[in-house]
Symmetry: C3
Subunit: 317 residues, 3 copies
């Protein structure tokens, strides 16, 4: 039993052993991605509802692909066509879904804590696909998986996260997961986006407003999207100014340690937080992140559905 | 052969024996909801198109779940992305769907009679998921199923429907179905929403504008949503005023017969037509209605697809 | 091996033998449409992404039905909910999809060349479902299939295409495909929509602005939709004026050769480019086109997935 809870709500509460257990299973799924037929029948006859209250492409599609590869029945449900427009409460919608006997709920929602709330109300498993500025645990797991593929054990490794840390659920999930696995995390960005108080998030967390200093000894740069659409980024005069001071350019990359690499959760604002040459260059691992995302989501759904980790070798090999 | 027609368009034309036959099958599906794998392969390789011209969450998801549990292939099609924007007529869209050889069409549309029109044009089965203010037969069936689960035979039972009866397809389907099964129906609401002429809908139908009188001897209260989004509700000065005069409050519930219960088709406007304490209290059966909705839709699709009622015991037990 | 390339981007580059090979397979799929279960398992466990950047009903549903009948897993992805809103480039979205290991991409997009671009970037097969004013090859193939069903060999046959040829991807795919198969194509419409220079598209292509002259010896009339929503049609004072001069009316049809027939790709603007009596009359084959569309798309997906044409007789008979 790798996961103790019925839900995956955040990495803050997930013990290091669970994180490592999930990543092991994910690696097994990842290993069979090139097979022509990639399906595993564990979810056959069971229903997953993808309940996305904020627009999303990659996360929703990544979850859908993971669900389909596990043979689940899928119902999609987006804010645009939902009863929320009719003024129904989140709780009433959730209880309705529960009464229809769904087996799993994937939820993205603008309110921090919404996933936890739904998990409490519902008997079925809930996976948080991003709840406001709180957490985005599957993104955190796929980021950590990508780092471990390159670096192995993360103890003592240095990860610098650059961007609007204060409003980023991706940053928060990274911070919780990485520090549990023993990595040291540096948070970098303008003071409006990276208040010094963020260093209190953990012993191994430090804040550094100067980009060159922040990345000098980093093993990994995790470059966040400037979330213009979530009302963040207002702490900066312009995209051009942000790029000049915090954009990851070829020049920044030249100053890194030789084996250091660059990550981005997507979608990228090219030439804002990351220069196009870096986004397309040899030091980035962005598409590995994407592939790992499907694998991590398969692993979580598999485990929450009662999949036996020992059986997996046989059923996917 | 439980259903004589290829379509389910309304309860006005469905004989009492058909209603009871459908509800028997639905009860069998309902009984197996707690099995981990709930699929029945009757629709394997056949295609159902969900054609929703009005936004819907619960009805669409309920149909989708029913279809998936019967192993149908599903194509969703909503007004937002349809050719209707391009000025195509309903008939042309329908004939196109027919030419593509779909096996069943579920339709929600703002125009009364649209489902019947499509049923006439198409060879395949059509189920009406709500056509303007005309009928919403699957809602009527699930409401009646929920009442029969508690009350058994409905002959002589008293059902009070409260709300904007004049504009409600839910009310109409309830009235036709309930009176056929021998229940007595009281319609209650302000005169603007419940004109006295509605009593002409049947011998067992009466109109009563005073809420306390209307519910005094009721076995069931079926509380309708105030459909602000359909331009109804204009017959009343404010939501607060409506709640004061027709809202089902704890106080109203205390005045009911001891075994009487409260239904609502959802989505609820809490503290408008129903007080939150009632919506969450021991006298409501709202989530039973939701679960029964999936079962009723499974039963209809099963029967219209040629499912053998006698075979069901074996295949779902 | 009927198709030499991994992608289907346009008929301009598809050799005549490939076109005929696809249509043979499509005819086999079409022949089994009336079977109750129409599924072929060739795509089981493989994922098709339908990536529609422009609203579409019939093309998207036709593709979805084709995919489902080949047992594919399907992910839908429309502009309305995509990251394009977040400023992501087409290339980044495409590379993301590729990293998720999808097996086939169906793309509709407003930019000519977008399908080719995606095909170049992606390892998986890409089918063009319409790229701006460039090509709509599956529509071209289904139109040609419909003509061949009635006329057999198209060599020397006369096809008149009427409408806004200059902006029509349907017209372009028809022109390329038809001329390769030896048909003679007449393009008809007002000079603003049918510039004389279009005659340079091929030896067997001519331009004729007078409708009666253009259709006098035609075997087929392919009547295009006036694409008001794509900014075309501005070359004409009004819909009424267009109808008067280029609308296909009963009167026009009476002047045709006895066996000539009328096609329309849909959705129709009744009583603009085609009179209602003609649209519903005995000379049109519009719903055959629709049915053939599913068959053509099945054939392409089947062949691109490595389906063996010789095996088909057995597996679908």
């Amino acid at each position: 039993m790798i996961l103790a809870n019925k839900d995956v709500l955040g990495l803050e509460e997930m013990p290091a052993e669970e994180i490592l257990g999930v990543l092991d299973i994910a690696a097994q799924f990842r290993a069979v991605f090139d097979r022509p037929v990639r399906s595993v029948p564990i979810m056959r006859g069971r229903t997953v509802v993808n309940f996305f209250h904020e627009p999303s492409t990659r996360t929703r599609i990544s979850f859908e692909l993971a669900e389909k590869r596990l043979s689940a029945d899928i119902v999609n449900f987006s804010a645009a066509t939902s009863s929320f427009k009719k003024g129904e409460t989140l709780r009433d919608t959730a209880e309705n879904l529960a009464a229809m006997k769904i087996d799993m709920l994937i939820v993205r929602h603008g309110s921090p804590g919404s996933a936890r709330y739904l998990a409490k109300v519902l008997e079925c498993s809930v996976i948080n696909a991003g709840d406001g500025g709180h957490e985005h645990p599957t993104q955190g797991l796929l980021d950590i998986m990508t780092m471990r593929q390159r670096l192995g054990d993360l103890r003592g490794r240095k990860v610098t996260i650059i961007g609007d840390i204060a409003h980023s659920r991706v940053a928060r999930s990274n911070i919780w997961g990485l520090t549990k696995l023993g990595a040291e995390v540096t948070l970098c960005g303008p003071p409006t986006m990276v208040p010094g108080a963020l260093a209190k998030l953990g012993e191994k967390v430090r804040v550094e407003h100067d980009l060159r200093t922040a990345v000098a000894d980093a093993d990994v740069l995790n470059v966040l999207r400037i979330q213009l659409e979530r009302g963040a980024g207002k702490g900066f005069p312009s995209n051009r100014e942000y790029h000049r001071m915090y954009g990851i350019t070829e020049d920044v990359v030249h100053g890194l340690k030789p084996e250091a690499f660059v990550m981005h959760p997507g979608p990228m604002n090219r030439d804002v937080e990351i220069a196009s040459e870096v986004a397309d260059g040899p030091r980035q691992v962005i598409l590995d992140q994407v592939a790992n995302g499907v694998a991590v989501r398969m692993a979580l759904i598999y485990l929450l559905s009662g999949g036996d980790p020992r059986a997996l070798g046989g059923s996917t090999a």
